[in-house]
Each structure stands twice: as structure tokens, then as C-alpha cells.
Symmetry: C2
Subunit: 192 residues, 2 copies
DNA sequence: TAAAAACCATACAGACCTGTATAGTTCGAA
DNA sequence: TTCGAACTATACAGGTCTGTATGGTTTTTA
């Protein structure tokens, strides 16, 4: 399954899909940039859609690995609930403003591939749910009530901020979202 | 400028773009469904991109006209701030769950057309800003401080909920977003 | 060292895409 | 009734797309 050519393909594909979208990125463009022959691609993947799924899986793996690192780093530096979640938001802002990143690739995939039940959309759903679960876990350590609802609201604020930045509104949207998230957390802590 | 054929084209295009996205919807598909000849299209529009812009403008016009109606209807029924904003959210939920609507077409357009400065993205940005301004105006009547930040946060929650539903998560996401919005408003009112 | 697996380069099939060319048709207004 | 504008129908140019066929080359493995 694993192979240097395959990895090269998936990484290049992910990068190009992020920049230009899925339909707008042709197989030949990916192959040229990756320096891989077309037959090699179709030896590893049955179709372009399979390559897209692999690229989404790679992104998810990268993202949560990065999130674990950041969380560990923050965990030892901030004990206060607000500080911890706030630091996570700050880290996410850096991640999301990374060069040539056009919004959230999972949101973008959902936009491009209709609302039917296909492997790509399943990957999107899986990512969004995993992100909620991750935040829920962080909140759980903070001993807050109704972590499920709160985690969902935080993720909504995050996705909303990404959409706003992608649309060309101010990059301070991330901070605005962060403030809202902290207010919601504070309210939960107060009502406990 | 106005013409029955042109209107038919833009309406049909809007519907198909909503369902299947922009790249995935070909000119011929639109023409067949609209029952219009290809030369008629290129007599009214210089390119497919111009048709896309026209479709986005139509959607924006429809949306704000509908929003005005709902707002007027609500305004006479609910005087309480929470009731009014909550009713708006409930109305938006109905609008957004309308059949065959795959997320927010403006968010989708932003996803499909990179992050360069083109007429399509300008339309997206214009819509997102107009929506913020509208909410800000509603909040203004409620005499709340810092309406700008609050309006942006509410719009983020809305876009986040749309993304969540589009990804296949629960439709109750709208209610979860609504609750968060109401909490944020209540907090503003309390701290005044 | 010999066989097997992975990969490369090129060409191409077949479909679909946007946009144009051309000629005929409907239909309202002067 | 005649002129002109808007529309239709069809064909096609030129490009791009995914995916396949074929045959040669490199690399790994036994």
C-alpha cells in the first residue's frame, strides 16, 4: 500500500486541491508537478476520486497530528480553561492562514461533490465529526457541562471564521470567533 | 437587459449550480433544462462566468427580499430581542433546509474559484458583508453594544451551521447555533 | 544473475467542455 | 406588409478531461 511514488502523488494532489479545488485540478497537472507517470497513478488508484479520498485522509491525519502536538505544548503552559482554548484558537489561526490555503478543504469538498452519499462526502463527514469529538475531549478535561453542544458551537464558530476569511473578510475573524467561543465557555462554567 | 429568456437562463442556472456546483454543471445541461438555444445564452452573456455572476446576484436579491419579508412579519409579532433574533434563526433554518439546496451557494462559489480577485469572488464577498450589515441593523434596533462584532459572530455561527448540515451532521445544528447566538446577545445586553 | 515488480514515456480513445459560425424561424412594430 | 430584432437548430472548432494501451526501462527481489 505505502510507496514513495504514491505518497508523492497524494501530497502533490492535496496541495493542488487546496489551492485550486478538485474539479479545477486535472490529473495531468498533478502528475507533472509530482514527476510521476500516469500509469503509476492508475496502478495505485482506480480513479481520480480515489486519489481525492486519499488526499483528504492525508490532510486529516496531518491535522490531528498537528493538533495533538499543539495541545500537548499548550497543556503544559496553560492550566486555565480560557487560556487553553484560547491558545488552541490562536494556533488554529496560524494553521489556517498558512500560505496558499483556500479555506477548509473538507468544506470545499462538500461544496464540490453535491449532497449524495459518496466516499468523498463520507470522508468530509468523518472529519467534521472527529473534530467535534476532539474539542469535546478537550472540554471534558475542563470539567464543563454539556460538552457536546459546546464543542459543536465552537466548531461552528471555527468553520464560520474560515468561510469569512475565505470570502475576503478580515483575518481578525479568527479572533472574533475565539472571543465568542471563550464567552460561551465562560457562561457554561458560570452556570455550573 | 431584462428578457424572459435571460431570466429563464439565470433561474435554471442558479438551481443547477446549487444542486451540483459550478464546474460540474455544464452549459449544455443548463440550456437543455431551460429550453433555450446556446446562441441566445451567448447573446446575453459573454461567458459562463458572467452567467455565474448573474445567478449569484439573483440569489442575493431573492435572499434579502425574503429576509425583509420575514423581518417585517417577525417585527410585528415579537418585541423581545431574543424572540426576534430567535425567530429569524428559525426562519433561516426553513430557508436553508429547502429541498435540493446544498449548503450556501456563496460559500460554495468561494470554494470553487480559488482566492484570486475575480468578479465571482467579489460577489461572494459582497454578499457576506451585506449579510453582516443586515444583522447589524437588526441588532441596532435592539440597542446592543458592539453590534459589529456580535453581527459577525452570529453570521459565523450561521455559516458554521450550514457547513455542518452540508457535511451530513444533524439538522439540529441550526438550533445549536441559534442557542449560541442568543447567549451571546444576552451577554451583551447584560453587560450594558 | 535471472525473474518479477514497479515505473516511465508516448500515444490515443472517447467523452465533455466552452464558445463560434451559419442559416433558418418566429414575431412584434413601424 | 415589410423590416428588424430575438430566438432556434445544427454543426463544429479547439481544447481539456479521465482513463487505457503498449512497450521500454529501472529497480527490487529471489
Amino acid at each position: 500500500m505505502a510507496s514513495p511514488r504514491r505518497d508523492q502523488l497524494v501530497q502533490t494532489a492535496l496541495q493542488l486541491f487546496c489551492q485550486h479545488g478538485f474539479h479545477a485540478t486535472g490529473i495531468d497537472t498533478i502528475l507533472a508537478k509530482a514527476g510521476v507517470a500516469k500509469m503509476t497513478l492508475y496502478n495505485h488508484f482506480a480513479s481520480k476520486d480515489e486519489l481525492i479520498v486519499a488526499a483528504l485522509q492525508l490532510r486529516q491525519k496531518q491535522f490531528f497530528a498537528w493538533l495533538d502536538e499543539e495541545n500537548a505544548r499548550i497543556g503544559s503552559a496553560a492550566d486555565q480553561p480560557e487560556g487553553r482554548l484560547g491558545a488552541l484558537f490562536d494556533a488554529l489561526k496560524v494553521w489556517l492562514l498558512k500560505a496558499k490555503l483556500n479555506g477548509c478543504i473538507f468544506t470545499n469538498a462538500g461544496a464540490e461533490f453535491g449532497n449524495d452519499d459518496n466516499p468523498i462526502n463520507r470522508e468530509v463527514k468523518h472529519y467534521k465529526q472527529a473534530r467535534i469529538d476532539y474539542i469535546k475531549n478537550v472540554l471534558g478535561e475542563l470539567s464543563v457541562n454539556d460538552t457536546d453542544t459546546l464543542a459543536k458551537q465552537i466548531c461552528m464558530l471555527l468553520d464560520g471564521a474560515i468561510v469569512a476569511v475565505q470570502a475576503g473578510l478580515e483575518e481578525t475573524s479568527f479572533d472574533t470567533a475565539k472571543n465568542a467561543a471563550l464567552l460561551l465557555v465562560a457562561q457554561q462554567l458560570a452556570s455550573k
